[in-house]
Symmetry: C2
Subunit: 109 residues, 2 copies
DNA sequence: CGGTATCCAGTCGGATACTG
DNA sequence: CAGTATCCGACTGGATACCG
C-alpha cells in the first residue's frame, strides 16, 4: 500500500521544511555544540525570535537537545541528538541534488 | 564555503515542500502518465483547486510536464520530466528515513 | 544572555462558483 | 473535463518590546 509511504515522507518533510531548520542542522553538524548566541552569529540573517521558534520545534521533534546551565547570565547549549545525526546523510543528499539541478531552474530567456 | 550548500538545499526544499507535491510525484512514479481526473482519483483528499495549483508549481519548477489535447471535452495529461525522475531516489530516501524514525516522534506518556 | 509575550504581514491550502 | 477567478482562515516567519 502506498499510504504508508505517504505517512513516512510526511514525517520527514515536517521535520526539515521549516525555513531555517536545515540551516540550523547543517550548522550544528559543522560546528558541534553551540550556545544560542554562537548559533545566532553563525546564521546572522535569522531573526532572534525566529531562531528561538525554530529551535523549539527542532527540540520538540527531538532532532536537537537543549542544555541549560543555571547561571547568571544564562548559558544554553544546543546539540544534535542521535535522531538529529541520523538525518545528516539525507540533508547532504538534498544538497547534492540541488547542486546538480540548480541550473535547470534558471528561466529560459 | 557553506553558503553554497545552503543555496543548494533551498532549491531542493522549495521543490518538494508543498503539502501535496511529494504525493503527486510519487503517484506519477507509480502510475506513469495520468490525466487530471485520474490524478484526482488517486489522491481523493486533495481539493480540486489545490491540485491545480500544486501541479502548476511543479510544472513551473519543471518537475512535470503538461500535455493538452485540443478536444472537447478537454483532455490533459501530466507526466514526469527527466528532472522530475531525477528526484525519485531522494524521495524514497525520505520515505525510508521517515519509516525508520517515526516511532521516535511518538510523544512519551 | 537567552527567553516570553504580542502583534503583524505575507503566504498557502482550501472552499465556492463560474467558463469553454 | 479541466481550468480560472475570488475569497477566506490558518499558519508561519518576522519585528518589537520587555523579563529573569
Amino acid at each position: 500500500m502506498m499510504n504508508q509511504n505517504l505517512e513516512s515522507i510526511k514525517v520527514t518533510l515536517d521535520v526539515v521544511c521549516g525555513k531555517w531548520k536545515a540551516v540550523i542542522l547543517l550548522t550544528l553538524y559543522e560546528e558541534g555544540t553551540l550556545r544560542f548566541g554562537e548559533l545566532k552569529k553563525q546564521i546572522p540573517l535569522i531573526n532572534h525570535q525566529t531562531l528561538i521558534k525554530q529551535l523549539k520545534e527542532l527540540e520538540n521533534d527531538r532532532l536537537i537537545k537543549k542544555k541549560s546551565y543555571q547561571v547568571v547570565p544564562p548559558k544554553v547549549e544546543y546539540s544534535l541528538t542521535d535522531y538529529g545525526q541520523s538525518i545528516k546523510g539525507l540533508l547532504y543528499k538534498m544538497i547534492e541534488w540541488g547542486e546538480q539541478h540548480s541550473e535547470q531552474n534558471k528561466t529560459p530567456s
